[in-house]
Structure formats: structure tokens, C-alpha cells
């Protein structure tokens, strides 16, 4: 059979048009020009097709051929993904670097995960078994942290008619032969392919009522994210989006992390590559890299592949979810992805909607965030995909289209504040404008797994912070000294919350990650400070005495001075606080 071939008739950056394309299909992957660049058909009209090209088009000529590949942009899914770093269309950057050293050249072709490497395959089915879609037929130890469960791909069912013996196989070797009800024979391998732009099917969605524990106080305590939920981190440049994403990639209790560097800095990916293999996961004692996948399509790499990188990442996430894992995906930055959409649609001379973005921006955002969820998979395992997307609003102004539309589709919103970042209050998440829609669903989990009054303490603290905000308006006009003591106490305790609790130092070994139990005890201490302080104020004790420097500074430094594994020390400090106020009250009684 001859491969359908068209002819290039128009070239404008990453967008080309070709004629004689009637045998091609929408969204088909093609090779472009004599350099065989990789492209994807994004519209078909009669004989002519528009193609977005995933590589630099410099040097391509009119009249060069466009050849069909017969399939849509597909992601090869199998062992070999975890621990790897790929470009936006799942080409391993290490392999690219072997072919073209140092700098990425075009025309490298479609390469993917290693198909030659041999894995120890353990098969769990025998001849005669009936296998349904999504069912597990074997295992491979992909990394010491991740067992790759070999699954029957979606839409395939049948009876096992042949199984190879356990042993070493590469991901292309047929391991199991199935005979379907229609008599067709299907080979099952350790790998499968899936079109990136189509969500992998599930059995059903389940409630999102378990948190993803991140060890970041402002998130876990104030604006938690559910496993299977979605969150956005908008913020101007330098406000801490990437730091937050890195912190979440390091410390959140997901089984697998998919980190997409979408149109951001090369050095940030290098940093992950250098740090993660050295960082040891406290739970498993293994390097974090063994549960991490990196998709790196940096700002200077081709913009069409940047557009694809989001889909590549989410497809990989869904694949591991289907095995029954909890996967968290960080996309830094979804704004660069939206800009890639804009750049491509702009070259098509489509009528733009707001700020040059295409009219389909909201629907693309919605489709992406909808791929998150806590689900029962095909084959009835429980798994989840949580999405955390950074948003980089132009001018730091949250009223621009990408931020506004993202806000409509995410459950948690962690707004970064330039003023906080300028004063180096990190993480610079604004506690007044941020929110989490998951608090209600997660309350029960916190009651059972942390403490019954955790949510109450959270509410108390937020209330104080809201009041403090109002008081600050007055302070700005008249200074602090003229406020009555009960209000000054609110200011003092709020400072404890802000400096002692909300500020969290990512570079400090105790403070970088804080277990929930410690977060709870810290709240307990601050709450005690407020309650005892209030009673003291009522007794007429002056604020200057209540605000004892030694005690206050001890409370602020709890985060550094009480190690995560010495929570017993909290009893001493609570005792000290109570004794102090007991003494005060006795004096003034």
C-alpha cells in the first residue's frame, strides 16, 4: 500500500499548509518536508490541510512532501516512562542528546521510550482466562518505587490462548495472545499506545474526599486540595509558582508525579534533574526521581510541541492512574500553553476573542481540567489524577482571560500576591483571596485522621486574619497604638499566624515539609495564645505585658525549633504558655 503524500503550499513559522491531502485524517500525525519533521493535521478543507509542526520549520520549501503516518498523535505507554525526561511529544531528551549533542536539532524523527531494554516480566494469567479491558495480566518493576501493572488496553476483551513464560522481555514483545469474541487474535504487550488528546476511559468517578497531603501549611490547613481535584496557582513573575510546584512535586503524598515544564526555563528542568535523584522520599527512603516523570518543552523549544506537552503529560498521568495509583500533575505554566494556542490560531488568521486568544480557549481549559478525578478505573481499581496548574497572568493582573477562565474550572485557587513576595513572605499565597472548594468534602477526613477540632481551629485562624485585615485599614490611618487592647491582640496573634505559621521556608530542612499533626499542634498553640490573651485582656492586663517577647518569639520559631519527629515538645510549650498566663492572671486578679 502506498503512503498518502501531499505537497507543501504555504509556510509560516510552525504552521504550514499542504495540498493533495484528501486521504489524510483530521488530527493525523504526519511527517513534513524532506527533513521529515513531525506535525499534526489541525484542519482539513477539501484538498488542503493545515498542519502544526512540532519542530523548527526553518529551511523547509514549497513543494516538499507531507507524508501520512496513519495514526493520531499517540503516546507510547509502558515501563521506561518513570524517571525519564521527555519533550512535548514524548521524545526522550536523553536520546535526543545522544543524537544531537547539546542543542536540539530538527528532523530527529519519532522516538519514544526504550523498546529494546529488557524487563523482568511476571505474568499473572493462564491459558483459558477471560480478560476484560483494564484487567491486569502481569507486572514489571519499573523503578524500585513503581510497579508497572500490565493492563489489557481499553476496548479489548477476550480469552487467553497463549502466555509466554515469565522472563526478560522488551516492551514490544507479545506476552499474551487473546482471542476476542469475534475470533480476532490480539497480542498484549508491556506497552500500549493512546491518542494524547482523548481521555482514557474509566468505569466511574468517585467522590473527592481524601486530601493530597503536601506538607505545606497554607495548603494543607487553609486551602487543601483533594486527591483527584484541581488547583490553580496564578501569580506574576517571581511570586513563587515554580517553587510551589517543586515543593509539591517533592513532598506531596501522591504515588507518581508528572511534572510538565510547559514553555518555562531550561534551568528549572535541569534543577529538578539534578536535585530529585538526590532527594530521598521520607516514606520509602528512595530517591524522588523514581516516582517522577518530567515533560520539558521549555520556552525556546518549538511552540506547537508546547501545545502538545499538556496532553502528553495528562495521558501519562491517566495511564498510571489506571493501574491504581494516585498521580499528581503539575503544569508550569498553563498560560504558556494558552499562548501556544494563541500563537498557532493567530497564524491561521482566525478571528480572535479576548486579547488575541482563540474563542475555544475556555473549552480547551475545561477539557484539560476535566481529565482530573478520583475514579474507579476499568478493572475496578481506585486511582486519581490531581492537576495543579500554574497561571502566569500578563502584568500580574488576574482579570486576564487565562486566569479568569481557569478560575471557572478549578476547585482550589491559590492566588500569589506580589506584595507578599516583595516582602519575602513565602509562600506568597494570599490568604484572603485564595479558596478551596474541597474543604467541606475533606472535613470528615481531617476529623478522623488529624484531630476533631482541626477544622474548627482553621476557621478560628481565618476569622482572625479577616479581622486583622480590616484593622490594618485603620492602622494605616492612625497607627497601631490607638487601638483598644483586644484589637491589638488580634494584630499580635495574626502576626504569629503569618510569620509563625503561613510563612514556610522551602530551604529549611525541618520547615520544607511539615506533617499534618505538627500543623495541627502549631494551630493549637496559636489558638491558645489567642484564647489566653483574650481572657487576660478582659482582666484589664495591658497588651504590652500580655505580648511577652520571650513567649511570642518562641511561638514564632516553633517551626524551626520543634523537629517534625519530636512533637512531644509541643506539650512543653503549651504548658509554658498556660503557666505564663496563669501567673499573669494570678498577679492581676
Amino acid at each position: 500500500m502506498e503512503i498518502p503524500t501531499g505537497v507543501i503550499s504555504y509556510i509560516n513559522g510552525p504552521v504550514i499548509k499542504a495540498k493533495k491531502m484528501s486521504e489524510f485524517k483530521m488530527r493525523e500525525m504526519v511527517t513534513v518536508g524532506s527533513k521529515k519533521l513531525i506535525g499534526e493535521i489541525i484542519s482539513l478543507e477539501g484538498e488542503s490541510a493545515t498542519i502544526q509542526v512540532y519542530e523548527e520549520t526553518s529551511g523547509i520549501k514549497i513543494g516538499e512532501p507531507v507524508a501520512a503516518t496513519g495514526h493520531p498523535l499517540s503516546i507510547k505507554l509502558g515501563p521506561g516512562i518513570i524517571g525519564g525526561i521527555f519533550d512535548g511529544i514524548e521524545r526522550p531528551l536523553n536520546k535526543i542528546n545522544n543524537i544531537s549533542e547539546g542543542f536540539i536539532s530538527e528532523g530527529i524523527g519519532l522516538i519514544s521510550i526504550d523498546t529494546e531494554k529488557l524487563y523482568d516480566v511476571n505474568l499473572s494469567v493462564s491459558k483459558g482466562d477471560l480478560l476484560c479491558q483494564g484487567e491486569i495480566f502481569g507486572e514489571v518493576n519499573e523503578t524500585p518505587l513503581v510497579i508497572n501493572k500490565l493492563m489489557v488496553p481499553p476496548e479489548i476483551e477476550g480469552r487467553v490462548i497463549e502466555v509466554v513464560r515469565n522472563g526478560k522481555y522488551n516492551i514490544e514483545t507479545p506476552l499474551v495472545k487473546l482471542e476476542t469474541s469475534s475470533g480476532e487474535i490480539v497480542d498484549l504487550k508491556a506497552s500500549q499506545e493512546w491518542p494524547a488528546r482523548i481521555p482514557r476511559p474509566i468505569e466511574k468517578r468517585l467522590a473527592t474526599d481524601k486530601p493530597i497531603v503536601t506538607g505545606q501549611r497554607v495548603i494543607d490547613t487553609f486551602f487543601p486540595l483533594a486527591k483527584g481535584g484541581t488547583a490553580a496557582i496564578p501569580g506574576g513573575f517571581g511570586t513563587g509558582k515554580t517553587m510551589m510546584q517543586h515543593q509539591l512535586a517533592k513532598w506531596s503524598d501522591a504515588d507518581i508525579i508528572v511534572y510538565i515544564g510547559c514553555g518555562e526555563r531550561g534551568n528549572e528542568m535541569t534543577e529538578v534533574l539534578e536535585d530529585f535523584p538526590k532527594l530521598i522520599d521520607p516514606k520509602s527512603n528512595r530517591p524522588l526521581m523514581e516516582r517522577t516523570v518530567l515533560i520539558a518543552n521549555t520556552s525556546n523549544m518549538p511552540v506547537a510541541a508546547r501545545e502538545a506537552s499538556i496532553y502528553t503529560g495528562i495521558t501519562i498521568a491517566e495511564y498510571y492512574r489506571d493501574m491504581g495509583y494516585h498521580v499528581a500533575i503539575m503544569a508550569d505554566s498553563t498560560s504558556r500553553w494558552a499562548e501556544a494556542l494563541r500563537e498557532i490560531s493567530g497564524r491561521l488568521e482566525k478571528m480572535p476573542a479576548e486579547e488575541g486568544y482563540p474563542a475555544y480557549l475556555p473549552s480547551r481549559l475545561a477539557e484539560f481540567y476535566e481529565r482530573a478525578g478520583y475514579v474507579s478505573t476499568l478493572g475496578e481499581r481506585e486511582g486519581s489524577v490531581s492537576i495543579i496548574g500554574a497561571v502566569s497572568p500578563a502584568g500580574g493582573d488576574f482579570s486576564e482571560p487565562v486566569t479568569e477562565n481557569t478560575k471557572r474550572f478549578v476547585g482550589a485557587f491559590w492566588g500569589l500576591d506580589r506584595k507578599l513576595a516583595y516582602s519575602r513572605h513565602y509562600p506568597a499565597i494570599n490568604w484572603l483571596s485564595s479558596y478551596s472548594g474541597y474543604v467541606g468534602q475533606l472535613a470528615e477526613w481531617y476529623d478522623e485522621n488529624v484531630a476533631e477540632d482541626m477544622m474548627q481551629l482553621r476557621a478560628n485562624m481565618l476569622k482572625l486574619l479577616f479581622e486583622e485585615n480590616k484593622l490594618q485599614e485603620i492602622v494605616k490611618l492612625v497607627g497601631e497604638d490607638v487601638l483598644p487592647d483586644d484589637q491589638r491582640l488580634i494584630l499580635e496573634v495574626s502576626k504569629l499566624i503569618k510569620v509563625g505559621f503561613l510563612q514556610q521556608n522551602a530551604f529549611h530542612k525541618e520547615d520544607s515539609y511539615v506533617p499534618l499533626k505538627k500543623q495541627y499542634l502549631m494551630l493549637k498553640v496559636i489558638d491558645t495564645m489567642y484564647r489566653r490573651g483574650s481572657s487576660a485582656v478582659k482582666l484589664g492586663i495591658p497588651i504590652s505585658i500580655i505580648r511577652n517577647e520571650e513567649i511570642y518569639s518562641k511561638v514564632i520559631k516553633i517551626k524551626y525549633n520543634i523537629p517534625n519527629n519530636r512533637l512531644d515538645m509541643f506539650y512543653d510549650i503549651l504548658e509554658e504558655i498556660n503557666q505564663f498566663y496563669d501567673r499573669l492572671e494570678a498577679q492581676y486578679a
Binding site: 526553518s58 514549497i62 535526543i96 506574576g236 534533574l273 502584568g395 490611618l477
Partner: protein, 456 residues
Amino acid sequence: MKSEYLLLDKVEGPLIALSGVADVAYDEMVEINIGGKKRKGKVIQLYEDKAIVQVFENTTGISIHNASISFTGKPLMIPLSREILGRVFNGTGDPIDDAGDIFAEKTYDVNGRPINPVARLYPRNFIQTGISSIDCLTTLIRGQKLPIFSGSGMPHNELAAQIVRQARLSEDSNEEFAIVFAAMGVKHDDADFFIKNFERSGVLGKVVMYLNLADAPIVERIITPRCALTAAEYLAFELEMQVLVIMTDMTSYCEALREISSSREEVPSRKGYPGYLYSDLASLYERAGMMKGKNGSITQIPILTMPNDDITHPVPDLTGYITEGQIVLKRDLFQKDIYPPVDILSSLSRLMKDGIGEGYTREDHAELSNQIFSAYSHVQDVLALSQVIGEDELSEADKKYMEFGRQFEESFIKQGFDENRSIAETLDLGWKLLSILPKDELNRVSPEILDKYYKG
């Protein structure tokens, strides 16, 4: 040479359109010959037998039948060898200093190629600039891209020149350094200022210059930084030198891009700038860094002027989203006669976290800088309050903050154009000033460090 085309369809702004072409490649270089004078351009769009060419020099004097166009079959390449050191080129890479052509050791495509993230080496080495506000609070790291955000009339050139003069780029005498200077749309005076300063620091023989001055064709500006960075890549990754690239003024560069975009009638995004401004700027800024297995490095200090001192303007905004921090100059300080008028709060060095502290600068550096940021940011609140209620009405602690703020600006931020402070001097000065504040206000510092360095 391939076939020549003598008839144009259209000349409009910096663009010419012609038809009947064959075998032309996207992005290839074009030579336009008008009565024996040559201009350069490149193919920016192809449609069947029609090509649109962007002319680097201006199109003045070109008519639809007085020019002959020939396609060179390759992208813009520049010749490179060690000889480029000490030479001056125009914005498209032709020598303009009467010292003749460059004998090419290598020729590179000026567009470069993206560095593979796996081939990068994460930059960690501190560069001492001798400027306190930078060394202590916005530390420059070898291989970093750290722009200066300035406004018209502010001393960004002086600051850049001082950095060039004082920065110790190479750590030992075995390492070679070089400076690549790209001027885009700057005045002759400004260019002369830099040249004089290079001379004065005795580095002129180590400088490569690409000059597209204010009266040079605007479109040429698109190529200027690309030539400069191509030369930098050659020096850093081929000759393994420590290269510092100064690019000024990025705002003029972006305006040139906007002009071309509007003459192509592209869909604009903010303030008329094209939607691909981010990607375009990234294709320049991302050419900074270090690579595995190479001893050289490219450190970039782009300079840009913020229209109306507005940091949310697309040029500073998109730059800040790409670079690894920014040094922001503030008009307030400038008017108070503080040089360099660095606004430390909005300035940032993202790479400093891994390049300071024990083994790099000093153990107390990180905590000290955190504390200064936090204290100085409180000074701004106190200042605002004092304007409402008067300084006398401030609390005792806040009065101390006012005092700290004043002295900090006067003696820490402010320094002489020739004053070169060592990192130890800078850090000690920082502690001296923090010691104006009561010890218990310094809650960003650990007790051990505080006991050791606090002098109050």
C-alpha cells in the same frame, strides 16, 4: 548563486513581496541588490510561488522594479573565530571598524538552537560585582540571565558599566573571559559611554560589539542580539570562555518586533505587541547558561527601559517571566540622589539560593538578606503611616525602622560609581545596619546567627 528575481509585487514597510519564486526555503537569507548596493533580508512567509521577505535595512529607495533579489539558500550565518574579540560589527554582523573581514574558523546560524535541558549544568557560582545591593540581595550567578529594569534617564548604563568593570567573571587565571555587547536602538552617546568604559577598564581587547544604533535601520535590530548571542555561544562553548553579554535596549528590540508584526497585519495581543513576543524573547534569553562538559558560561545582563516606569508593561513583564530575576531601578531613589537606585523589594535573583551561603559566600548570607528584605519592606509601611500621622507619633520600634530605612538607603544601597565592596564588607555593613533594630524584631534569623553577628 541561484536565480535572481527582478520584479517585486509590493513594497510595504519593512516587507517586500514577490512571486514566481521556486526552490526557496522558509527563513533563508535574501540579498537585495539596488544599483550595486546590497541589503539583507530573510524569508518570513511562503505561499505557493509567492514569498514575503523582511528587509533588515530599511526599504527606502526600493521600488517594484529597481531591485534584484537573490536567495542565498541558507539562513543568516556569521563567521566566527577568536579574531572577533576586540572587533566592532553592525547589527547584522558585518564588520564596521575598518579592520577587514573575519577569517572564519566556524560559521554559525544566528538563530541558534535550543539547549537541551539535559545538557545544561545548573549555575551555582557566585559573581562578586562589588555592588552591595546586588551581591547581598540580588546575587548574580555565573550563567544567569539577570536583566536591569530601568526607566528613561536613570543610570542603567552606569550600573551595567560598573558591573562589567568590577565583576570577577573568572575565578582563576586559567579561565578566560570575554564581553559581548549588543546595542539596539541606543544613542551614539550611550554606545560611546560603554566603549569608553571598556577602554577604561582595559578590557576593550576582550569585547565583541554588535551595534545597531538609534539611526540604524529598525528591522536590523531583530538580528542584532542573535548575532551577539551566537558569538557568545561560540566563545563560551567552543573556546570555553566566561562570557558576559550586555544587551541594551530590549525595549527598542521589542518595538522593532511590534513594527514588523503590525506591517504583517498580525493579530496583536497586549499594547499591540505580537502574541509570540514571549517565545521570541525566550529564544534570546534562554541562550544564557552553562553546559555539561564545557567550561565556558554565558551570563546575560539585558537592559530595558520600562515605558512610564511601568513594570507591568509587556516588555518588562514578559522579560521577568523568562529571566532568572531582575534588578529594578526606582525613580524615587534616583531622585534622592542614591546611586545605584536599586529597588531591592521588586528586585530578585532566582539563582542566588543555590549560590550563596557557606562554601560560596558566607554562612549568614541567606538569613541576613531575608531579614533585610523583611525589615525594609516594613519600612515602607511605616513610611506610609508616618506621612499620615507624622513621624513623632510613630511607636518606638517604628521610629527605629525609619532610622534603619534611611541609613540603609544612604550607606548600603548608595555607593560610588568606582566603589568596589567585597562580599564580606557588604555583609558586615548589612549587620551593622540591622543592629539599629531591636534584636527581637529580627525574626527571620536563627538564634545562632543572630548571636554571632548582631552588634546592637
